[in-house]
């Protein structure tokens, strides 16, 4: 019975969705790029990406939902740790740290911490797989997850990613990952029903509080 009651504990599912979204944002570029492993140009983009370990990158993000009057601005930083963890911190307008690694997701808010398995959500799980695949050069796994088209304008490029997976499609209609040369500058996720999020990386490194 207890196991079934767990199943109804949708708080953790909700968290799973949050993390899925964060993860979408963070790993979209690499995942999309890897999925076009058979396109030499995209292989070039992917291989030139500079993935820095243990270096926080500041970001600002706008999110829109059906119940917001106008897009909400969020700021914080993101770190790829050398242990393979992905850490996204929200600094404004609230504090939150989400850590993803070893198949577990940890969400830390003020006076509250929660940990759960990524396997609760297949979308989250697939994105984690795609990240791992990118870091490890697993082209097959990335190709399994996305269909990618490329738009190019000089040094600027955009990867237009459409999930193959029906579980991802439930949350993401399309992801556009833009960059210049070896750097991702923006990730835009269209979730449909007037719901979207746009994450931009700052040129200047974020200051740790």
């Amino acid at each position: 019975m207890k196991a079934l009651l767990h199943s109804l504990n949708t708080a953790s599912f909700g968290m799973g969705r949050f993390c899925c979204c964060v993860f979408l944002t963070l790993s979209a570029a690499s995942a999309c790029a890897e999925s076009v492993v058979f396109d030499p140009e995209l292989v070039r983009i992917l291989s030139s990406l500079d993935v820095q370990r243990d270096e926080p990158r500041a970001y600002s993000e706008y999110r829109m939902t059906t119940r917001l009057r106008e897009p909400l601005k969020i700021t914080g930083d993101i770190v790829f740790s050398s242990q393979g963890e992905l850490i996204k911190r929200v600094i404004e307008p609230f504090q939150e740290t989400i850590t993803i690694g070893n198949n577990l997701v940890r969400v830390q808010r003020v006076n509250k911490m929660r940990e759960f398995s990524m396997a609760k959500d297949q979308g989250l799980y697939d994105f984690f797989r795609s990240l791992r695949a990118m870091l490890e050069g697993d082209i097959d796994t990335l190709d399994e997850l996305f269909v990618v088209a490329i738009e190019r304008d000089g040094d600027n490029w955009t990867l237009i990613c459409k999930p193959k997976n029906k579980y991802l499609r439930r949350y993401v209609l399309e992801m556009n990952v833009s960059g210049t040369a070896d750097e991702i500058t923006e990730i835009f996720i269209d979730q449909g029903r007037k719901r979207w999020q746009r994450l931009s990386f700052s040129v200047v490194e974020a200051q740790r509080p």
Binding site: M1, K2, A3, L4, L5, H6, S7, L8, N9, T10, A11, S12, F13, G14, R17, F18, C20, C21, V22, L24, R63, T65, T66, R67, L68, R69, E70, L72, I74, V90, P93, F94, E96, N103, L104, R109, R114, E115, F116, S117, A119, K120, D121, Q122, Y125, Y167, R170, Y171, V172, I189, Q191, R193, R195
Partner: protein, 762 residues
């Protein structure tokens, strides 16, 4: 006409005149019995049937949980690595098919389609009766403020809908409290290697074996047909099916082999197919009547009753053998054996009736089954068999030997009694197995796998429970809430507390919560939405729900009928004989002694139940009661023997031999199995019955004019050989319960024969 020392029966066609009458009578009995069995037969595998009536609150809770506890309807399903489909797809497809089968109340595979509709209706609709919330403007503002991270980060529109209807997330808070142990949050439902886990709650109770068989078949067919995999299943229902299938098929196979062995022995002894066929008649009639009697007296027959009933009833094989062996000396000789046969059978029936009075419904069934079976088999042997056998002609050449008087030697039984007694005395400190799990016929490795899997699924073994009782439901709910809240304030004592008060607060508290709605105005939600940059109608659903709160009926136990929480309520709150009980589950107790001490201060009326200790105490009391009843039976048997045999050498020899047989059998079992279980004890009762029969017949005073002693020896040899052959087949089984049973009876029969035969010489 002697062949290898065994004689052939010469059967003539002469039939007594009353054959038709007896045939008609027994056919009528058989028909009525069969009709009763066909129309009323209903079996169960609920272990609680074999537990004694609970005498203390601890035992009462233990018996309840063993029978139909909240977890008894769970099926744990594992798809091992290596099947063809993508594991997530397989998991979802499996879940979909199980959900749509109608056999399950709910199915879980670690993923959930998030939506308001997916939340249990009873929780979502009553969330504000179950949770304390502040519905003032300040409270609404605080709730919406704390939801902003969730609302803006939610990629799933459905979660946004939940927040819009429940910005306090009260429904999730309630569910979180119910699910005190969060270990399954980190459970991997699909492993990186591709192993898939699912858990499903069956609609049917675990004892409905037919429904469980349907479930097992469905799971097996989905796994096999669609994924080319063999699903592993765990849980009470799965074990019931496994017992039914594996052990029963093993029992059937072994029983067939045993029957074959017995037939071969009887053919070798009597050299007559006619006789072998006739020997089955009393057994068949006895079994049918026994089944009918149990079916009439009890609502359900337990599987163990059937298995052990037929075993105990095996003593009846002696009756036809005595008829055939003594029948060799002519019909007149049969008349002489009836008193001894009646005495042996009557004494055995006394022992079985003692088993019937041992304090549990299962044993009552077992005793009634065996007693009725033996009685009917004896009556058929006495009335119908001689008539069907016809006249027989003696062809024995042992008359010279048997005409000599029998000498009863006491030193044989004394020696066995001494040896057996000393072994039992030396092993007195570990004589009995007090492990309740030893009652289950499941292999130890299955129990271990079950334990590991439950821990993995976040349903760990529950050892401690807290019991609160009151005559009045509302008083009990108030006290349950008080104790629950108090314990939750002390995480240093207890890590978690699962309590029915989370689902069923006292009426007065529900009324207070409903009254809070009077404070609320829809403008509060609009004002808060504006403050946080949300549209005015963002929380319209919430406002509508709160406004309707005061019109909602208060929650009562029946509110959860038909929901996923029905079992939780049933096992956490129940009424028996006018007393209401609530059972709390404390988890992760840091120090039981300290917890118990503190509990005495916090809630002196609460009873802390250690299920393990309660089970040991239950088994000890159970065994003590069975032993007492058997002792009473022994005294009664001695009384009957005294009346029938009169004080003297023979009485002394028979009772001493019986004691020696029982002590010797128990001693051999102790030496081989380290401890004697209740199952061994039941087998010893059969050995006692057979031993008494051997002792009585071999101590009969020989009639100078017939082959009585030779015939008795002949019958007993046939009985020993056939019983030993039959139970040797069971002893060779890989199923522990069958091999244990077989071995106990096999050794017991050999000891009984040794004591009787070596102790009685011409």
């Amino acid at each position: 006409m002697r062949r290898n020392g065994l004689e052939t029966l010469a059967v003539t066609d002469a039939r007594p005149r009353n054959l038709r009458l007896w045939l008609l009578l027994w056919l009528l009995c058989a028909g009525l019995s069969a009709l009763t069995v066909i129309t009323r037969f209903n079996s169960t595998v609920d272990l609680a049937y074999f537990l004694p009536a609970a005498e203390t609150p601890q035992e009462s809770v233990l018996v309840d949980r063993l029978g139909q506890g909240a977890g008894s309807q769970l099926w744990f399903i594992v798809l091992p690595e290596g099947f063809s489909t993508q594991p997530f797809d397989a998991s979802n497809e499996f879940r979909f098919q199980l959900e749509n089968s109608g056999l399950f109340r709910s199915v879980y595979n670690g993923r959930q389609t998030l939506s308001v509709e997916q939340l249990p209706d009873v929780i979502f609709a009553n969330r504000y009766l179950l949770d304390d919330i502040d519905l003032s403007q300040t409270g609404v503002n605080a709730a919406i403020s704390s939801r902003m991270p969730d609302l803006t980060f939610a990629p799933d529109p459905a979660l946004e809908d939940i927040i819009a209807a429940d910005p306090y997330l009260s429904s999730l808070e309630v569910l979180s409290k119910i699910s005190a142990d969060q270990s399954s949050d980190t459970m991997t439902w699909v492993t990186p290697g591709g192993r898939v886990y699912l858990v499903a709650e069956a609609r049917a109770p675990a004892y409905e074996i037919g429904a469980q068989q349907k479930i097992a078949a469905l799971i097996s067919s989905i796994a096999n047909d669609q994924f080319g995999a063999v699903a592993q299943t765990y849980g009470v229902g799965a074990y019931g099916v496994e017992l039914q299938r594996t052990i029963q098929s093993e029992a059937q196979f072994r029983s067939l082999l045993a029957i074959l062995a017995i037939i071969l022995v009887l053919l070798a002894v009597y050299r007559s197919v006619h006789v072998v066929l006739l020997s089955a008649l009393p057994l068949a009639m006895g079994a049918l009547a026994a089944l009918a009697a149990v079916t009439l007296l009890f609502d359900q027959i337990h599987g163990i009753t059937l298995a052990f009933g037929f075993t105990l009833f095996g003593v009846a094989i002696d009756f036809p053998l005595h008829v055939f062996s003594h029948g060799r000396s002519g019909r007149a000789a049969l008349a002489h054996i009836w008193p001894t046969l009646r005495l042996g059978a009557g004494s055995t029936v006394l022992a079985y009736l003692a088993v019937a009075a041992s304090g549990s419904e299962g044993l009552a069934q077992l005793g009634v089954f065996s007693a009725v079976g033996v009685s009917v088999a004896l009556l058929v042997s006495m009335t119908l068999l001689p008539a069907l056998l016809g006249d027989v002609t003696s062809v024995s050449d042992e008359s010279a030997i048997s005409a000599e008087p029998v000498r009863l030697r006491h030193h044989v039984w004394l020696l066995i009694l001494l040896l057996g007694g000393s072994v039992l005395f030396r092993g007195a400190d570990h004589l009995w197995s007090d492990d309740l799990s030893a009652l289950t016929p499941l292999p130890a490795e299955t129990i271990e796998r079950d334990r590991a899997l439950r821990a993995e699924f976040g349903a760990p073994d529950i050892r401690y429970l807290l019991l609160l009782q009151s005559q009045d439901l509302d008083s009990l709910l108030k006290e349950t809430l008080r104790v629950t809240e108090l314990l939750r304030l002390h995480p240093e004592l207890v890590g978690s507390v699962q309590s029915v008060s989370d689902l069923l607060p006292p009426a007065v508290l529900q009324e207070q919560r409903a009254a809070m709605a009077a404070v609320f105005k829809p403008e509060f939600a609009i004002q808060a939405a504006r403050e946080f940059g949300l549209v005015d109608d963002a929380f319209e659903a919430f406002s509508t729900n709160v406004m309707g709160l005061q019109r909602r009926p208060l929650l009562v136990p029946e509110s959860y009928a038909g929901t996923v929480f029905e079992q939780s309520i049933a096992s956490g709150l129940y009424e028996r004989e006018g007393v209401w009980s609530s059972v709390l589950i404390p988890g992760q107790i840091a120090d039981v002694a300290v917890f118990s001490e503190q509990l005495a201060d916090y809630a002196p009326e609460a009873v802390l139940i250690d299920l393990k200790q309660a089970s040991v105490s239950l088994v000890q009391q159970y065994r003590a009661r069975i032993l007492m009843m058997l002792a009473i039976a022994f005294v009664l048997i001695c009384g009957v023997l005294l009346a029938a045999l009169r004080p003297g050498r023979r009485l002394f020899w028979v009772t001493g031999g019986l004691l020696a047989t029982v002590a010797g059998t128990l001693a051999v079992n102790l030496l081989l199995f380290d401890a004697i279980s209740l199952f061994n004890l039941m087998a010893v009762v059969l050995v006692g019955g057979l031993g008494l029969d051997y002792l009585l017949f071999l101590s009969r005073v020989a009639l100078p004019s017939d082959n009585s002693i030779a015939d008795s020896r002949h019958a007993i040899l046939a009985s020993v050989l056939s019983t030993a052959a039959g139970f040797a087949v069971l002893a060779s089984s890989a199923v522990p319960i069958l091999s244990g049973l077989g071995f106990t009876v096999l050794t017991g029969v050999l000891i009984a024969f040794g004591v009787a035969r070596l102790g009685s010489l011409n």
